[in-house]
Structures are given as structure tokens and as C-alpha cells.
Point group: C2
Amino acid sequence: MPVWIDGRPADTLPVSDRGLAYGDGLFETIAVRQGRIALLERHMQRLAEGARRLVLPLDLALVRSELLAFAGELRQGVAKLIVTRGDGQRGYAPPVDARCRRILSGGPVPAYPPRHRLDGIRLFPCATRLAEQPLLAGLKHLNRLEQVLARSEWQDPACAEGLMRDHNGRPIEGVFSNLFLVRDGELLTPALTRCGVAGVMRAEILERAVAAGVACRVVDLDYADLLAADEVFLCNSQYGIWPVVAFETHVWPVGGLTRKLQLMLTDLVDV
Amino acid sequence: MPVWIDGRPADTLPVSDRGLAYGDGLFETIAVRQGRIALLERHMQRLAEGARRLVLPLDLALVRSELLAFAGELRQGVAKLIVTRGDGQRGYAPPVDARCRRILSGGPVPAYPPRHRLDGIRLFPCATRLAEQPLLAGLKHLNRLEQVLARSEWQDPACAEGLMRDHNGRPIEGVFSNLFLVRDGELLTPALTRCGVAGVMRAEILERAVAAGVACRVVDLDYADLLAADEVFLCNSQYGIWPVVAFETHVWPVGGLTRKLQLMLTDLVDV
């Protein structure tokens, strides 16, 4: 599988990289099929927003051209892009002459069992809560210890994903997915202004659902809203949509809107 | 300056390292003088606590022996130790066969102006607030974007450090220091159970102050407590103690207890 650093084949980086020292950077996990990049513009948009908020001097046109060339070489699989603030001396202060490092590594298409999208999944109740940090909320940055801790909580393969809540108990997202509920025909997904990662598939689903005439709202959801939902599903850029059918003692059917949205995404993900 | 990875000279690491991907690891910044390590046991204790809480399979005896050998080579300066969960495949789940990577890099003795410890410093009021995450509080882990953002807030060299508060406005620490107040002869430092880094110098100061008969308390402090303090100072493992003499419109004298504590640390830091 190919690995490129700053546009050239290479698979090691200096220990002085600030991505290692402080998690000072961003990443994107990108589906590549037949050499084409799914949701390219959304990945680029999120990267641009992250670079803006972290004040990373990232050459977005260069990132895009490297990504397109990399996808051409990879053909089929996952392209993981990491951008960091590059090398630094000791100390948190960003170097005034920072030069971002761009790391692209290829992997195979994730081998998720088809039953996850067909029959739905069981969701594990993570005890790890998401801290509230509005300055970082929504970004796919490299500070991901909360997700590491949350994913460490269960080994049982019967649970394909875990629910993460904030310190007030509000459901926010899966460990590597975004969360949607359906209630009275309306599509709801948690606001990600205090914590969470604003996924590209979440944005795509919202846009397509609105275009299809589905009422959508991005709101603060309570735990009770989750339990009372008519349908629950998770999404990410690799697997599309997984219906959630079980969570602790709660069960949900695979709902009609969930199925319709799955069908509306078949151009993006393998079904 | 020497750089070692896993005990051998090397200065690059694989892009698959989980320290880069997720900040999945810990670090220590260690003062080395005449080949000796200041506060070695405290650094090892914090590392052990971090490894325990992050469930890192770290060989602490090996870390200690590498650190001692590295200090012997470095002789004088700062040894930065980074330990990560090592290489991983895509996904947050820690590999069951994780092998921690140990990275040691040497730097010169930090060139802080002597006036910082002699005359005291001005403290910048950072707008970046610390998020509350009890699972990570106190640890010196690699998720440090909050410190990067906070340190980016000021360039004025008149401010040597910045104050970080939590989302409730409570003063917690400096960007790269711990915070102490003196009030009515009592030494107070913020509790670090929800956020903050429990510094080795902070622990050393508390122990020596108690041994010297000073009343000490680790407590939740309000912003008003800071402003009403008789003395304010910062500490870390490299510079020892810096009196704080100015913060916004507030001024403090360099206090008597601050001076006494500075003198009690002359065996640890260059004065």
C-alpha cells in the first residue's frame, strides 16, 4: 500500500514533528473507489475549516492535487491524510515559519460484515464522556485520546460501535461515526458545537435528505430523545449508514427512512 | 544533540505510530545537569500513572535505564521523553500486541532571562479555556492542542507565560507551568482532577513546603482567589519558580514565601 510524505513515497517522519509532540494537526479518512475520491469537496472543506481554526498554513491546492494523484495510484481502498504543523523546536508556540507536513497512507477497503448495514448493529454504551471544547468541536484533529479510551471499553464483536455522550449525558456520536435519530418522520442529529467530529457523510446525508423533502434538524439531543426515537442510525464516510437496532435493553427496527437514506447513498459506498 | 528511539540513535519514526495518529502516548520534559536527572523519581511516577490510566504496556524499568544512559550522553540540557503506543493499523482500538515506542531527544538548557525568576513575570490572560476531562486530567499526554492554541494567543515577549482557566473560569495553570497562590501564609494550588497537568515541580514544591512547616492546600480556586492573593507564582521542572508580578491591571509583589521556596529549590534548578 502506498505511503507518501509531502508528495513523495516515504514512510518515516522526523521525531520533531508537532503532530507527534502535540497532536498539532488534522486528518481525513477518505474512501477511494476505482481511483475516484468519494466526497472530495466535503473532505477539502473540513480540512480548510480545520486549518483556519488551528491557523495551519496549509496549501490546500497542493493537498488536493496530491490527494488526486494518490487516489490514482491507490485505485481502491482508504486514503488516510494527516496534515501537521511540521517540525518544531521545544515549546507550544507555533513556529512563525511553520511548514505543514502532508502524510498520505493507503489501506484496503474496510472489511465490515454486510450484516451491519443490512440487519443493523448493537451499540455499546461507552462510559468515556466527551469533554466540551468549542474551539476544537467539529474538527477532525489529531487529539483523539478520548476515542482511544472509548474504543478500549469493549472487545465484544457483537457491538460494532459505541455511543459517546458529553458530560451532561447528551448523546453526541459514535466512536468513529456520527449519530442520527428519526422521530415523527423528522431526521435529527446532535449539534457538534461543543464536542464531536462533524463527519463528511453526516453533512452529505443532511443535504440529500433536505433535497428529498425530509425535515432535518441539527439540535441538542437528550438521552431520552435517543431512547424514544423511532429509528436510530450511524454513518461515516467508509461504510455509509448502519442502522442501530440494539442498545442496552432498547431495541429499534431498521426504519423506513433509514432504508431510504441507505439507498440514496449507493453511489458513494459499496452496498 | 542526541536523539534515540527505543534505546538506539535514530531520528525518524514510522508514519503508522499511534502517537502521531491519535496523540496516543505521554511525554516528560526532564532537566539534565552534569549528567544527572532532576526529579527522576517524580517523572517516573507520573509516567507510571499515565501508562496505568492509558493502559500503555510500558516497560518502566527499560525507560528508566534508557533515560539514565541518555542523560549520561546529554550531560547538560533538556531530555524530552515521548512514549507512544507504537505502531497501529487504522482504527482507534489499541492493538492487543501493542509495543510502546520510546523517543528521547536532547535539547540545550532553556535560555530564560534571569529577570523572570529575579523580578517576576507578567502573565497573559488566555482566552482558550481548558476542557474538563477527568479521565485525562493530571497526565502529561500528547493531546496538547489547547496549549498550542493558548500559546498562540500572544507574541508580546513582555508576557512570559499565560494563565489558563477552565470553562467555569477557575484558574488552573499556566500554558507550560503550574500555578500557586499564597494567602494569609498558606500555599494554595488548583486541584487538577478535571483538567491540567500535574507537574513534577508542583509536587516537589508541595512536599518541601509541607516539610518546612508551610500550610498547603490543593483546592478548587476561583478567579477572585487569584486576584485577592498575597503572592502568585508559577513553576515547572526547567525554570523552578517564576514570581508573577503583573496580570491585566493587577500587580503583586515578589512575596516572602515565594522567595523562600525559590531558595529551597536551588539544588534542582540553575539560579
